[in-house]
Amino acid sequence: MSRRLDRTKEAGLAYLLIAPAFVLALVFIIYPFMRNFSLFLYHAPPYPGLPSHFAGLSQFTTMLTSSSFLQGLEATLLYTVLVVPIGVLLGLILAVVAHQKLKGMAIYRTIFATTAVSSVAVAAVIFGTFMNPVLGLLPWLGINPNPPILQSPTWAMVAMAVIGLWQFMGLSFILFSAGLQSLPEEVLEAARIDGASEVGVFWKVTVPLLSPTIFYAITVGTIGAMYTFGQMDLLVGPFSAQYVHVNTLAYQIYQYVVTEPNPGLAACISIALFLITAVITFVNFRFLERRVTYAN
């Protein structure tokens, strides 16, 4: 009897301990996620208090055929393709450089890692200053593109990607630095004794051993890139974004919630973005994880 009582008490304590985390998840994750589906099915009014009516899948089908959605999808995918592979590669190269036992490396490590913890607002201000057509670094260097970079349908996305890359590179650098430090030193030494050059050791041993980190960086980077809109909003703004092709899906969701409220359409795009990200992540797992070697 007393054992049962003890067990009940123990379970009660366990529920009590997880309650704060559960409440937060309920309010900020589970409820919004479920609410999204209700918004998706109903044509919600732009302001609370007005009546909403059932719309079924009509909002979703309208969205799928709209040119702004397709352009947004294209912008999102282009941004991801520009940021993730280069960010992973640069993070790896910087981590390898910082891994060398040379003097002053701690300073470089700190500098490289800083970009990961800088907010998008800071990044946007820095790069916005560089690209300012009057006061920026580029005119100072004598480079005056016309139209200015942020107003150019060709270069605006590249500028957005450079900012994203700058931020993602820091995260990628931290991940690879941790990965390099956990590599079994004896395996690398064995390769050197077995006749491999330093370049050979890197490509034939270090990179395969880092494959779990590479896979993780690609997966996390892809998911992060798919949901980017900060620099688009801060440097381009909702009215020019579509014209210069940086109107990513995440930015469209933001616009349909804040600038021109249309909760139903915002819910449809967010569900579409969720499904697209899920599919890409699944493909990542299905095809990339096969090539990953976990040490044990």
Partner: protein, 347 residues
């Protein structure tokens, strides 16, 4: 195959001196064991031959040529690590092939050599497996196959048996010796296990605190240790070392007589093997602190004053109970004398 030599090799890590002027020559085709406790510098010495560490001073020579400044890949040595250090992303066959792929050898020749090495180590059925799918013993054999496949001038083995269980260790020990005899490749084998050293090495180099204590055959080290450290480290159990006074040809502890030795005088450290120490009422007083029953024989653990000794006797012989007082005497000609301060051999 080649000779390997350490010429006054020293190594400092910061303020710590881990190797102090090592001079040692390993003959062509010899199986030399570097033996010593943890931190004695034996692994550092081995890594210097591999080129994984640089000496602070001195030279490493392979076949009479200084290789001190050569990178590992240009030394043509093969190393087997304690952790096996297999490439986890490659199959057994690819692991064995790895050193060959770093050369200009053709595909067909590589395949033949891999097949030969795998067959020699009994790995023919496992070549498609990944290291994580193998047992510790199988991984060890893959590491050995990877070492032998390119026919290096020297094998370097860094405690390769430490991660194996007792039965497998004994088996692998004899497999390695057989393989080395068959290939005739110069081998340097590092271990802290004196049983491995005694059973495997043509010669053993005993090291302690970065200094080479003695080099010799297992028999030489066992019967003629150069100092008290070698005497206490080599043999299972190591030689008993008892503080005594040498008076008129007798070795005395307090007023009792432990044994006799040629005329000398003053305090000495008496070295007696466990089998040469016997229960004898006329001997020195000791207290039984433990009994280890090993089957046909028994190890009595006793203390004589501050010194702890082991007495080996037949299981059937009468023995004192735990905590009981007994008397011990050194018998036979196995008594060796050492300087109690320097530890150097006196007799």
């Amino acid at each position: 195959m080649a000779t390997v030599a350490f010429r006054s090799v020293a190594k400092q890590f910061g303020d710590k001196s881990v190797l102090k002027g090592l001079d040692l020559e390993i003959a062509d085709g010899e199986f030399l064991v570097l033996l010593g406790p943890s931190g004695c510098g034996k692994t550092t010495a081995l890594r210097m031959v591999a080129g994984l560490e640089s000496p602070t001073s001195g030279d490493i020579e392979i076949d009479g040529v200084a290789v001190t400044d050569l990178p590992p890949r240009e030394r043509d040595v093969a190393m087997v690590f304690q952790s096996y250090a297999l490439y986890p992303h490659l199959s057994v066959a690819k692991n064995i092939e790895f050193p060959l792929r770093q050369t200009s050898m053709g595909k067909a020749e590589r395949a033949a050599k891999v097949e030969g090495a795998a067959a020699m180590l009994g790995l023919a059925d496992l070549v498609h497996r990944k290291p994580r799918e193998l047992s510790g013993g199988q991984r060890q054999r893959v590491a050995l196959a990877r070492a032998i496949v390119r026919n290096p001038v020297c094998f370097l083995m860094d405690e390769p048996l430490s991660n194996l269980d007792a039965t497998l260790r004994a088996q692998t020990r004899s497999d390695i010796v057989t393989l080395q005899r068959r290939l005739g490749t110069t081998t340097i084998f590092v271990t802290h296990d004196q049983v491995e050293a005694m059973t495997m090495g043509d010669r053993i180099a005993v090291m302690h605190e970065g200094v080479l204590q003695q080099v010799g055959t297992p028999t030489e080290l066992f019967f003629n240790p150069a100092n008290a450290f070698v005497a206490g480290f080599v043999g299972n159990p190591g030689m008993n070392l008892i503080h005594a006074d040498h008076v008129d040809g007798e070795l005395r502890v307090a007023t009792k007589i432990l044994g006799s030795a040629p005329s000398q005088s003053g305090p000495v450290l008496v070295g007696v093997r466990a089998e040469d120490l016997v229960l004898d009422d006329s001997g020195v007083e000791a207290t039984c602190t433990g009994v280890e029953i090993l089957g046909a024989e028994v190890h009595l653990l006793c203390s004589i004053g501050e010194d702890h000794v082991v007495v080996r006797q037949a299981a059937s012989a009468p023995r004192p109970q735990l905590g009981e007082t007994c008397a011990l005497r050194a018998s036979g000609n196995g008594v060796l004398l050492f300087d109690p301060t320097s530890g150097l051999r006196l007799s």
